[in-house]
Symmetry: C2
Subunit: 378 residues, 2 copies
C-alpha cells in the first residue's frame, strides 16, 4: 500500500514503536485537518492500515433505529455494507463492548461469512475494538483485516483503541453538532409557520420567500455560507408581524394610510427581535439582511430608506422574493397575480426598485422550476 507520509523515507530504519508513534501523530493531526466526517475517517482508516500492517481497515457505525451496523468507511469497498447490529465479529464487539482478536476467522463461530461472499474479499484474521462515546453509549467498532505477518499483539490492541477513542470523540461531537443544528432549524421553521398561522392567507409566505430567495442566491452563484444566511433571514423576515394587531393583519379591504404605517412597523420589530438572538458567527448577518427586505435600490423603501450599496446583498434578494410571493398569492383585498404578470412587475422595477441581476436570477430559477416559460421573459 502506497503511503503519503513524508516521514516514511526514514521508515525502514525505524523501530516499530518509532513508526507507530509517527503514525499516531499523523492520525491525531488528521483530525484537525479534515472537517468532513467520512473523508476524515477514510484518511484515518488508511493511516491505521499502514500503522498496523494490515490490508484493510473498516469503521462500523451503529444505527439504533434500524438495529444495524453500517460501514461509514470500508477500505476497498466503495459501497456501504449493512448488517444486523449483532452479526459477525464487529457485531459481537459493538454489542458487548469487548475486543476481539481473531487469528483465523474460519475457526471462529462469530464470523459472518456472508460479507466476504458479498464483496468477494477473503478475510483471514481480524482485530476489532469497540467504539464508545464519552457517555459510554455504543457507537460502533473499528476493525483491521488481514495482518500481513504474525499475530495481533496487546500493543496492537492498545494502539487501535487509541485511534478508536479519537474517532469516537470526533463522531460524537459531529452528531451533537448536527442534532443541535436540526433542533434550531426546526424551531425556526416552526416559528415562521406559527407566526403566519394568525392569518390563513399568509400561511406559507415565509417558506415561499425562503425558497425563492435561496433559489435566486444559488443562481447568482453565492457561496454556501451566504445562501445559509439568506435562508434564515428569509424564514424570519416577518417575525415582527407578531407585534401587529389581528384587525389590521386580517383587514379584508385596502389599508388606510394610518394602518399602512402600522404594518410598516413590522420590519422594525423584526430587527429588534432578531437582534436579541445570539446567532453563531457564520450567521451573524441574519438580522441585518432580514431588516432590509423592504428597502429599495432607489431609496424609496423603508424603514431606513437605504439605497444602492447601503442595502445588504441578501436584503436585495429577499426584497424581490418577498414582493414576488406577495403578488402571486391571494390577499384579503385582492386575488393572486399570475407568475408572468408578477414577473412583468418586478422586471419593470429592475434597476430602479430592485437589483437587476437579482431579478434576472429569480426568472432563471422560475424557468428551471417550470413556473415560467422561457418565452414569457423579455
Amino acid at each position: 500500500m502506497p503511503t503519503e507520509n513524508k516521514n516514511d523515507v526514514a521508515a525502514p530504519f525505524l523501530g516499530l514503536a518509532e513508526k507507530r508513534l509517527r503514525n499516531l501523530v499523523d492520525i491525531s493531526r488528521a483530525f484537525s485537518e479534515e472537517v468532513e466526517l467520512s473523508a476524515l475517517l477514510a484518511l484515518v482508516a488508511r493511516r491505521t492500515s499502514e500503522a498496523m500492517g494490515t490490508e484493510r481497515t473498516s469503521v462500523f457505525l451503529h444505527d439504533p433505529e434500524r438495529r444495524e451496523l453500517w460501514t461509514v468507511v470500508a477500505e476497498g469497498e466503495p459501497r456501504e455494507i449493512r448488517m444486523p447490529e449483532d452479526a459477525g465479529i464487529a457485531g459481537w464487539v459493538a454489542t458487548r463492548g469487548e475486543v476481539a482478536v481473531v487469528s483465523d476467522v474460519t475457526r471462529d463461530p462469530r464470523w459472518n461469512k456472508e460479507i466476504d461472499r458479498r464483496t468477494g474479499y477473503t478475510t483471514r484474521n481480524i482485530l476489532c475494538v469497540p467504539m464508545d462515546d464519552p457517555g459510554g453509549e455504543r457507537l460502533g467498532a473499528f476493525q483491521c483485516l488481514n495482518r500481513a505477518e504474525g499475530n495481533f499483539t496487546q500493543d496492537d490492541v492498545t494502539f487501535l483503541q487509541a485511534i478508536a477513542s479519537q474517532a469516537a470523540v470526533y463522531i460524537q461531537n459531529a452528531r451533537l453538532l448536527e442534532a443541535r443544528k436540526r433542533m434550531f432549524d426546526s424551531l425556526v421553521d416552526t416559528l415562521a409557520e406559527t407566526i403566519e398561522s394568525r392569518d390563513p392567507l399568509t400561511a406559507g409566505h415565509s417558506r415561499n420567500v425562503m425558497a425563492y430567495a435561496v433559489g435566486t442566491a444559488k443562481k447568482l452563484g453565492l457561496p454556501p455560507e451566504d445562501v445559509e444566511v439568506i435562508r434564515y433571514a428569509a424564514l424570519l423576515h416577518d417575525y415582527g408581524k407578531i407585534g401587529l394587531p389581528d384587525d389590521i393583519l386580517r383587514k379584508p379591504t385596502t389599508l388606510t394610510p394610518a394602518e399602512y404605517e402600522v404594518i410598516k412597523k413590522h420590519v422594525f420589530y423584526t430587527q429588534q427581535i432578531l437582534a436579541r438572538i445570539h446567532f453563531e458567527e457564520r450567521l451573524k448577518e441574519v438580522p441585518v439582511v432580514a431588516a432590509h427586505h423592504h428597502e429599495r435600490l432607489d431609496g424609496s423603501g423603508y424603514p431606513e430608506a437605504l439605497a444602492g450599496d447601503g442595502i445588504s446583498f441578501g436584503g436585495k434578494i429577499i426584497a424581490v422574493a418577498d414582493v414576488f410571493d406577495a403578488m402571486t398569492s391571494r390577499r384579503h383585498y385582492r386575488g393572486p397575480m399570475t407568475v408572468p404578470q408578477a414577473v412583468d412587475v418586478i422586471t419593470e422595477g429592475a434597476g430602479s426598485q430592485f437589483d437587476a441581476e437579482t431579478v434576472r436570477a429569480l426568472k432563471r430559477f422560475l424557468i428551471e422550476e417550470g413556473r415560467l416559460e422561457p418565452d414569457e421573459v423579455d
Copy 2:
C-alpha cells in the same frame, strides 16, 4: 513527578519511542473519558509533562474580545494567568502560528519575565507550539516548561503538535456546541417573550413560570437533566397562544364559557407546535411536559383530564408555577393577589389539584427568594 499510568511499572525498561507511544495512547483516550473541558486539559497537560520530561505544561487560549491570552491550564498555578495576546513566547507563537524552541529564555528577547515575577517560578527553557482550529483560526498555544535534561528535539516538536492538534479539535467542538446552544436558547427566550408581547399584561409570564418551576425542581432535588427539560417546557408552555385571537386574549372582562373553551385550545396548539421541533435526545420530553401544564392531580384538568401518575412530574411542577404566577399578576378582569394569598390558594389545592410535594417545594423556594415569610406558611 508522580505518574498515575499503570503501564509505567514497565517504563524503565522501555525506549523513548515506546514510552511516547504509550503516553500518546493515554492522552488520546483521555479525550474520550473526560467530558468537562478544563478538567480534560488539566489531565492532558499532566500526561504531556510526563511524556516530555518537562516540569510544567500550560495551555493558553486566545480571547479575541480582550485581545489577551489566558491559561485554561497552567500546571502549578491554580490561578488563571492573563497577558496581552502578543506578549512573551506564547504570544509570539499564537500570533505567528509558528513553533518556538528556546533552550535558554534569558537569552531570548521574546521572553516575558513578568510572568515568572508574578508566579515566583523560574523558567529556564520552553517549547511552545501553536494551537489552530480546523478552520485555521488562532486558538492559542501549548507550552512545555523546563525540560529536565538536554535540548528539545524535532521529535518533541512533532509530539507536542500532535497533542495540540487533538486539544484544538476538542476545544473547537466544545465552543461550537456551546455557541449552538446559546443560539437555540436565545431563540427560545425571544420566542417566549414575543408571544406574550401581544398582550402587555402577560408580558414576562413564561419567564416567571420558568423561574418558579426551575426553583421548585431544584428544591425537589431533581437531576440537572430534568431541570433542563422543565426550563424549556416552562418557557414554551404558552406557545400555542399564538393561535388565539386578540379579542379573546385581551378581553377586559370575564370570559364567557365559549370564549374559555377557545382559550383552553392553546394547550392543544402548544402540543402540536412543539411536536414539530426536533428536540435533542436529552430534551425530548419537553413537548409532553409542556402539554401537561393544565392537567390536575385529581383529573379535573385539560386537555386530557389525566390524573395522578398519568401526568408527567415536570407537568405537575409547571402547573403549580403557572397558577401561582397567574394569580400574583394583574389580569384584564382582576387585580393581582398577594404572594401569601396565592400561596393559600395553592396550599388548599395541594393533594387534590396540585402535587403536595411540589407545593411545599415552591413555598421553600419563595421563602429563600424573600418573597414569603416563613411564618406565613401553614
